[in-house]
Protein backbone atom coordinates (compact mmCIF):
# COMPACT_ATOMS: atom_id res chain seq x y z
CA UNK A 1 0.00 0.00 0.00
CA UNK A 2 2.75 2.37 0.98
CA UNK A 3 4.47 1.47 -2.23
CA UNK A 4 1.42 2.35 -4.29
CA UNK A 5 1.09 5.64 -2.44
CA UNK A 6 4.68 6.61 -3.10
CA UNK A 7 4.20 5.70 -6.74
CA UNK A 8 1.23 8.03 -6.88
CA UNK A 9 3.25 10.78 -5.24
CA UNK A 10 6.07 10.39 -7.75
CA UNK A 11 3.74 10.37 -10.71
CA UNK A 12 1.91 13.42 -9.39
CA UNK A 13 5.13 15.34 -8.82
CA UNK A 14 6.46 14.45 -12.25
CA UNK A 15 3.16 15.37 -13.93
CA UNK A 16 3.10 18.74 -12.22
CA UNK A 17 6.69 19.31 -13.23
CA UNK A 18 5.98 18.44 -16.87
CA UNK A 19 2.92 20.65 -16.96
CA UNK A 20 4.95 23.49 -15.51
CA UNK A 21 7.74 23.09 -18.05
CA UNK A 22 5.33 22.81 -20.94
CA UNK A 23 3.55 25.93 -19.78
CA UNK A 24 6.88 27.76 -19.49
CA UNK A 25 7.85 26.65 -22.98
CA UNK A 26 4.57 27.94 -24.34
CA UNK A 27 5.09 31.27 -22.64
CA UNK A 28 8.59 31.55 -24.05
CA UNK A 29 7.58 30.88 -27.61
CA UNK A 30 7.18 34.10 -29.54
CA UNK A 31 4.38 34.91 -31.91
CA UNK A 32 4.65 34.21 -35.60
CA UNK A 33 7.44 36.72 -36.12
CA UNK A 34 10.20 34.15 -36.17
CA UNK A 35 8.19 32.07 -38.56
CA UNK A 36 7.65 35.09 -40.81
CA UNK A 37 11.33 35.91 -40.91
CA UNK A 38 12.17 32.35 -41.60
CA UNK A 39 9.71 32.13 -44.50
CA UNK A 40 11.19 35.36 -45.86
CA UNK A 41 14.61 33.76 -45.83
CA UNK A 42 13.39 30.66 -47.62
CA UNK A 43 11.58 32.85 -50.10
CA UNK A 44 14.85 34.66 -50.79
CA UNK A 45 16.36 31.42 -52.07
CA UNK A 46 13.53 30.70 -54.51
CA UNK A 47 13.86 32.04 -58.06
CA UNK A 48 10.74 34.23 -57.82
CA UNK A 49 9.41 33.31 -61.23
CA UNK A 50 5.98 32.99 -59.58
CA UNK A 51 5.24 30.22 -62.05
CA UNK A 52 3.29 27.95 -59.72
CA UNK A 53 4.91 24.81 -61.11
CA UNK A 54 5.45 23.64 -57.54
CA UNK A 55 1.71 23.45 -57.13
CA UNK A 56 1.50 26.56 -54.99
CA UNK A 57 0.21 29.89 -56.18
CA UNK A 58 3.57 31.58 -56.01
CA UNK A 59 7.03 31.49 -54.53
CA UNK A 60 6.04 32.72 -51.09
CA UNK A 61 3.33 30.13 -50.55
CA UNK A 62 5.84 27.46 -51.49
CA UNK A 63 8.32 28.99 -49.05
CA UNK A 64 5.67 28.79 -46.37
CA UNK A 65 5.03 25.15 -47.21
CA UNK A 66 8.76 24.49 -47.16
CA UNK A 67 8.99 25.86 -43.66
CA UNK A 68 6.44 23.25 -42.66
CA UNK A 69 8.32 20.39 -44.20
CA UNK A 70 7.30 20.41 -47.87
CA UNK A 71 9.70 18.63 -50.21
CA UNK A 72 12.52 20.83 -51.47
CA UNK A 73 12.58 19.40 -55.00
CA UNK A 74 9.52 21.00 -56.49
CA UNK A 75 10.98 24.08 -58.14
CA UNK A 76 11.92 23.47 -61.80
CA UNK A 77 12.96 27.05 -62.62
CA UNK A 78 15.43 27.03 -59.75
CA UNK A 79 16.66 23.56 -60.61
CA UNK A 80 19.56 21.87 -58.90
CA UNK A 81 21.06 25.15 -57.71
CA UNK A 82 17.97 26.09 -55.74
CA UNK A 83 17.59 22.60 -54.34
CA UNK A 84 21.18 22.78 -53.19
CA UNK A 85 20.69 26.10 -51.49
CA UNK A 86 17.44 24.95 -49.91
CA UNK A 87 19.10 21.83 -48.60
CA UNK A 88 21.76 23.99 -47.01
CA UNK A 89 19.30 26.43 -45.56
CA UNK A 90 16.82 23.90 -44.30
CA UNK A 91 19.45 21.33 -43.35
CA UNK A 92 17.83 18.64 -45.42
CA UNK A 93 19.24 16.05 -47.73
CA UNK A 94 19.67 17.22 -51.29
CA UNK A 95 17.43 15.32 -53.70
CA UNK A 96 17.02 15.51 -57.48
CA UNK A 97 14.23 17.56 -58.96
CA UNK A 98 10.81 15.94 -58.95
CA UNK A 99 9.91 15.44 -62.64
CA UNK A 100 6.21 15.69 -61.85
CA UNK A 101 6.61 19.42 -61.50
CA UNK A 102 8.69 19.88 -64.61
CA UNK A 103 12.25 19.63 -65.76
CA UNK A 104 15.02 22.12 -65.39
CA UNK A 105 15.63 23.98 -68.59
CA UNK A 106 17.38 27.13 -69.66
CA UNK A 107 15.64 30.35 -68.81
CA UNK A 108 12.90 31.21 -71.24
CA UNK A 109 10.91 34.32 -71.86
CA UNK A 110 7.52 34.75 -73.42
CA UNK A 111 7.25 36.17 -76.89
CA UNK A 112 3.95 37.31 -78.40
CA UNK A 113 3.59 36.77 -82.11
CA UNK A 114 2.20 40.15 -82.82
CA UNK A 115 0.52 39.24 -86.08
CA UNK A 116 -1.67 36.69 -84.32
CA UNK A 117 -2.49 38.69 -81.18
CA UNK A 118 -6.15 39.67 -81.03
CA UNK A 119 -5.78 41.94 -78.02
CA UNK A 120 -7.86 39.95 -75.56
CA UNK A 121 -5.81 41.01 -72.49
CA UNK A 122 -6.09 37.53 -71.01
CA UNK A 123 -2.34 37.14 -70.83
CA UNK A 124 -2.02 40.53 -69.16
CA UNK A 125 -4.22 39.32 -66.35
CA UNK A 126 -2.35 36.06 -66.09
CA UNK A 127 1.07 37.67 -65.78
CA UNK A 128 2.18 37.65 -62.14
CA UNK A 129 4.73 40.39 -62.57
CA UNK A 130 2.91 42.75 -64.94
CA UNK A 131 5.42 42.15 -67.68
CA UNK A 132 2.93 42.26 -70.55
CA UNK A 133 2.01 45.56 -72.04
CA UNK A 134 -1.07 46.21 -74.12
CA UNK A 135 -4.69 47.25 -74.10
CA UNK A 136 -7.98 45.80 -75.11
CA UNK A 137 -8.15 45.30 -78.89
CA UNK A 138 -4.60 46.41 -79.14
CA UNK A 139 -1.57 44.30 -79.77
CA UNK A 140 0.23 43.11 -76.64
CA UNK A 141 3.91 42.69 -76.09
CA UNK A 142 6.20 41.28 -73.45
CA UNK A 143 8.69 43.48 -71.65
CA UNK A 144 11.70 41.23 -72.05
CA UNK A 145 13.60 42.51 -69.04
CA UNK A 146 10.69 41.87 -66.71
CA UNK A 147 9.52 38.47 -67.96
CA UNK A 148 10.20 35.64 -65.53
CA UNK A 149 9.44 32.92 -68.04
CA UNK A 150 6.71 31.46 -65.84
CA UNK A 151 4.59 30.08 -68.71
CA UNK A 152 1.40 31.35 -67.09
CA UNK A 153 0.41 33.50 -70.05
CA UNK A 154 0.62 30.67 -72.56
CA UNK A 155 -2.41 28.75 -71.35
CA UNK A 156 -5.00 31.58 -71.31
CA UNK A 157 -4.18 32.83 -74.81
CA UNK A 158 -7.16 31.95 -77.01
CA UNK A 159 -5.18 32.14 -80.24
CA UNK A 160 -1.99 30.50 -79.00
CA UNK A 161 0.16 33.37 -80.09
CA UNK A 162 2.62 33.21 -77.17
CA UNK A 163 5.84 31.29 -77.61
CA UNK A 164 8.39 30.60 -74.94
CA UNK A 165 11.78 31.33 -76.43
CA UNK A 166 15.15 30.86 -74.75
CA UNK A 167 16.23 34.00 -72.95
CA UNK A 168 19.36 35.50 -74.32
CA UNK A 169 21.56 36.03 -71.34
CA UNK A 170 23.69 39.10 -71.75
CA UNK A 171 26.82 37.61 -73.24
CA UNK A 172 29.82 38.13 -71.06
CA UNK A 173 33.27 37.96 -72.55
CA UNK A 174 34.61 36.58 -69.31
CA UNK A 175 32.44 33.48 -69.56
CA UNK A 176 35.15 30.86 -69.27
CA UNK A 177 34.65 27.25 -70.03
CA UNK A 178 35.17 24.57 -67.44
CA UNK A 179 38.15 22.33 -68.10
CA UNK A 180 37.22 19.04 -69.61
CA UNK A 181 35.20 20.76 -72.27
CA UNK A 182 36.99 20.68 -75.62
CA UNK A 183 40.19 22.68 -75.57
CA UNK A 184 39.35 24.62 -78.65
CA UNK A 185 36.72 27.26 -78.38
CA UNK A 186 33.45 26.44 -80.01
CA UNK A 187 32.44 29.53 -81.87
CA UNK A 188 28.78 30.33 -81.87
CA UNK A 189 28.82 30.72 -85.62
CA UNK A 190 30.77 28.80 -88.18
CA UNK A 191 34.07 30.48 -88.53
CA UNK A 192 37.14 29.18 -90.29
CA UNK A 193 39.52 27.70 -87.75
CA UNK A 194 43.24 27.12 -87.87
CA UNK A 195 44.21 25.28 -90.99
CA UNK A 196 40.91 25.93 -92.74
CA UNK A 197 41.90 29.35 -93.88
CA UNK A 198 43.58 29.21 -97.20
CA UNK A 199 46.49 31.45 -97.77
CA UNK A 200 45.19 33.06 -100.89
CA UNK A 201 42.06 34.25 -99.17
CA UNK A 202 41.82 38.03 -99.02
CA UNK A 203 42.32 39.20 -95.52
Amino acid sequence: MAQLLSLFIVVAVLSLLSLGILRLAKLLKVDGKAQEQWIERINGVLPQTQCGQCGYSGCRPYAQALSQGEAINKCPPGGAATINRLSNLLARESVPLDPIHGVESERKIAYIREADCIGCTKCIQACPVDAILGASKRMHTVIVSECTGCDLCVEPCPVDCIDMIPAQSPASISQWRKPGSPTTIIWPQTAPSIGDATKGQPR
Binding site: S18, I21, L28, A34
Partner: protein, 193 residues
Protein backbone atom coordinates in the same frame (compact mmCIF):
# COMPACT_ATOMS: atom_id res chain seq x y z
CA UNK B 1 39.80 21.03 -9.58
CA UNK B 2 42.23 18.84 -11.49
CA UNK B 3 39.85 15.98 -10.98
CA UNK B 4 37.06 17.79 -12.82
CA UNK B 5 39.31 18.75 -15.69
CA UNK B 6 40.49 15.17 -16.00
CA UNK B 7 36.90 13.96 -15.98
CA UNK B 8 35.84 16.48 -18.61
CA UNK B 9 38.78 15.70 -20.89
CA UNK B 10 38.36 11.98 -20.41
CA UNK B 11 34.66 12.10 -21.19
CA UNK B 12 35.18 14.38 -24.17
CA UNK B 13 38.13 12.66 -25.79
CA UNK B 14 39.36 9.41 -24.34
CA UNK B 15 35.95 7.99 -23.56
CA UNK B 16 34.21 9.86 -26.29
CA UNK B 17 30.61 8.77 -26.27
CA UNK B 18 30.12 8.60 -30.01
CA UNK B 19 33.42 7.23 -31.23
CA UNK B 20 34.66 5.14 -28.31
CA UNK B 21 31.51 4.06 -26.50
CA UNK B 22 29.25 4.17 -29.55
CA UNK B 23 26.49 6.05 -27.81
CA UNK B 24 24.39 8.34 -29.95
CA UNK B 25 26.23 7.27 -33.09
CA UNK B 26 22.95 6.76 -34.88
CA UNK B 27 22.05 10.39 -34.27
CA UNK B 28 25.32 11.58 -35.73
CA UNK B 29 24.94 9.55 -38.88
CA UNK B 30 21.27 10.00 -39.50
CA UNK B 31 21.07 13.76 -39.00
CA UNK B 32 20.44 15.44 -42.31
CA UNK B 33 22.59 18.51 -41.90
CA UNK B 34 23.13 19.58 -45.47
CA UNK B 35 26.61 20.61 -46.51
CA UNK B 36 27.33 23.24 -43.95
CA UNK B 37 28.99 23.32 -40.58
CA UNK B 38 26.60 25.72 -38.86
CA UNK B 39 23.71 23.26 -38.32
CA UNK B 40 26.15 20.72 -36.92
CA UNK B 41 27.57 23.24 -34.48
CA UNK B 42 24.10 24.39 -33.48
CA UNK B 43 22.94 20.84 -32.96
CA UNK B 44 26.05 19.97 -30.98
CA UNK B 45 25.57 22.95 -28.68
CA UNK B 46 21.90 22.15 -28.19
CA UNK B 47 22.87 18.61 -27.33
CA UNK B 48 25.52 19.81 -24.91
CA UNK B 49 22.98 21.96 -23.08
CA UNK B 50 20.52 19.09 -22.88
CA UNK B 51 23.11 16.65 -21.59
CA UNK B 52 24.25 18.99 -18.83
CA UNK B 53 20.69 19.99 -17.94
CA UNK B 54 19.38 16.47 -17.87
CA UNK B 55 22.41 15.29 -15.90
CA UNK B 56 21.77 17.87 -13.20
CA UNK B 57 18.00 17.60 -13.10
CA UNK B 58 17.94 13.84 -13.22
CA UNK B 59 20.50 13.61 -10.43
CA UNK B 60 18.48 15.93 -8.24
CA UNK B 61 15.15 14.27 -8.95
CA UNK B 62 16.57 10.80 -8.53
CA UNK B 63 18.04 11.54 -5.15
CA UNK B 64 15.28 13.86 -3.93
CA UNK B 65 12.24 12.10 -5.27
CA UNK B 66 12.83 8.50 -6.25
CA UNK B 67 15.18 7.40 -3.47
CA UNK B 68 13.04 8.72 -0.55
CA UNK B 69 9.88 7.22 -2.01
CA UNK B 70 11.64 3.96 -2.81
CA UNK B 71 10.50 4.10 -6.43
CA UNK B 72 13.92 3.88 -8.04
CA UNK B 73 12.52 1.37 -10.51
CA UNK B 74 10.90 4.35 -12.21
CA UNK B 75 14.28 5.86 -13.06
CA UNK B 76 14.26 5.06 -16.77
CA UNK B 77 10.81 6.45 -17.34
CA UNK B 78 11.61 9.55 -15.38
CA UNK B 79 14.91 10.17 -17.15
CA UNK B 80 13.28 9.98 -20.54
CA UNK B 81 10.45 12.21 -19.47
CA UNK B 82 12.84 14.81 -18.11
CA UNK B 83 14.96 14.66 -21.26
CA UNK B 84 11.94 15.24 -23.46
CA UNK B 85 10.77 18.11 -21.29
CA UNK B 86 14.20 19.72 -21.43
CA UNK B 87 14.22 19.44 -25.19
CA UNK B 88 10.84 21.18 -25.35
CA UNK B 89 12.11 23.90 -23.07
CA UNK B 90 15.36 24.38 -24.98
CA UNK B 91 13.36 24.43 -28.18
CA UNK B 92 11.35 27.37 -26.88
CA UNK B 93 14.36 29.22 -25.50
CA UNK B 94 16.36 28.72 -28.66
CA UNK B 95 13.54 29.98 -30.78
CA UNK B 96 13.29 33.08 -28.64
CA UNK B 97 17.01 33.82 -28.90
CA UNK B 98 17.63 33.06 -32.55
CA UNK B 99 14.56 34.00 -34.36
CA UNK B 100 15.47 33.29 -37.94
CA UNK B 101 18.31 30.81 -37.68
CA UNK B 102 16.40 28.55 -35.38
CA UNK B 103 14.01 26.60 -37.54
CA UNK B 104 16.38 24.24 -39.32
CA UNK B 105 17.00 22.76 -35.91
CA UNK B 106 13.38 22.03 -35.26
CA UNK B 107 13.30 18.65 -36.93
CA UNK B 108 16.59 17.71 -35.30
CA UNK B 109 15.40 18.63 -31.81
CA UNK B 110 13.48 15.43 -31.56
CA UNK B 111 16.68 13.57 -32.27
CA UNK B 112 18.19 14.96 -29.08
CA UNK B 113 15.32 13.67 -26.99
CA UNK B 114 15.95 10.15 -28.19
CA UNK B 115 19.72 10.54 -28.28
CA UNK B 116 21.30 7.67 -26.37
CA UNK B 117 24.20 9.94 -25.61
CA UNK B 118 21.98 12.01 -23.31
CA UNK B 119 20.41 9.09 -21.54
CA UNK B 120 23.71 7.23 -21.49
CA UNK B 121 25.51 10.04 -19.72
CA UNK B 122 22.94 10.04 -16.92
CA UNK B 123 22.86 6.28 -16.63
CA UNK B 124 26.63 5.95 -16.50
CA UNK B 125 26.84 8.54 -13.73
CA UNK B 126 24.11 6.72 -11.86
CA UNK B 127 25.84 3.41 -12.25
CA UNK B 128 29.09 4.81 -10.90
CA UNK B 129 27.30 6.40 -7.96
CA UNK B 130 29.13 9.65 -8.62
CA UNK B 131 28.24 12.80 -6.69
CA UNK B 132 26.54 15.84 -8.14
CA UNK B 133 29.59 17.80 -9.29
CA UNK B 134 31.22 14.77 -10.85
CA UNK B 135 27.96 13.99 -12.65
CA UNK B 136 27.91 17.52 -13.97
CA UNK B 137 31.53 17.36 -15.12
CA UNK B 138 30.89 14.02 -16.72
CA UNK B 139 27.86 15.41 -18.57
CA UNK B 140 29.77 18.48 -19.69
CA UNK B 141 32.57 16.31 -21.03
CA UNK B 142 30.12 14.05 -22.82
CA UNK B 143 28.40 17.03 -24.42
CA UNK B 144 31.70 18.55 -25.51
CA UNK B 145 32.78 15.23 -26.96
CA UNK B 146 29.55 14.97 -28.88
CA UNK B 147 29.97 18.51 -30.20
CA UNK B 148 33.52 17.80 -31.33
CA UNK B 149 32.55 14.60 -33.13
CA UNK B 150 29.52 16.26 -34.66
CA UNK B 151 31.63 19.05 -36.13
CA UNK B 152 34.42 16.73 -37.23
CA UNK B 153 32.10 14.32 -38.97
CA UNK B 154 30.11 17.12 -40.55
CA UNK B 155 33.27 18.71 -41.92
CA UNK B 156 34.33 15.32 -43.16
CA UNK B 157 30.97 14.79 -44.77
CA UNK B 158 31.39 18.03 -46.68
CA UNK B 159 34.73 16.81 -47.98
CA UNK B 160 33.28 13.39 -48.71
CA UNK B 161 30.79 14.81 -51.14
CA UNK B 162 33.67 14.73 -53.60
CA UNK B 163 32.27 12.79 -56.51
CA UNK B 164 35.49 10.95 -57.18
CA UNK B 165 34.89 8.36 -54.47
CA UNK B 166 34.49 4.92 -56.07
CA UNK B 167 30.82 4.10 -56.52
CA UNK B 168 30.58 1.21 -54.03
CA UNK B 169 31.97 3.42 -51.28
CA UNK B 170 29.84 6.46 -51.85
CA UNK B 171 27.39 7.70 -49.27
CA UNK B 172 27.18 6.05 -45.86
CA UNK B 173 29.87 3.48 -46.66
CA UNK B 174 32.66 6.03 -46.84
CA UNK B 175 31.11 7.95 -43.94
CA UNK B 176 31.29 4.91 -41.68
CA UNK B 177 34.78 3.98 -42.85
CA UNK B 178 36.04 7.46 -42.10
CA UNK B 179 34.19 7.54 -38.80
CA UNK B 180 35.94 4.30 -37.94
CA UNK B 181 39.31 5.84 -38.76
CA UNK B 182 38.37 8.82 -36.62
CA UNK B 183 37.42 6.47 -33.79
CA UNK B 184 40.83 4.80 -34.00
CA UNK B 185 42.35 8.25 -33.76
CA UNK B 186 40.30 9.01 -30.69
CA UNK B 187 41.52 5.83 -29.03
CA UNK B 188 44.90 7.52 -29.02
CA UNK B 189 43.59 10.00 -26.49
CA UNK B 190 43.42 7.23 -23.93
CA UNK B 191 47.09 7.88 -23.35
CA UNK B 192 46.61 11.42 -22.10
CA UNK B 193 44.27 10.63 -19.25
Amino acid sequence: MTEFIVIIVAAALANNYVLVQFLGASTVYSLPLGSKLEPAIAFGIANLLIIVGSGALNYLLYHALLVPTATTYLYLVMFMLINSLLVVLLDAIWQRLHQSSYLPLKSSMLMIAINTCVLGSTLISLERNSDFLITLAQALGAGLGFLIVMVLLSAMRIKLSDPRIPAPFQGSAIAIISAGLLALGFLGFVGIV
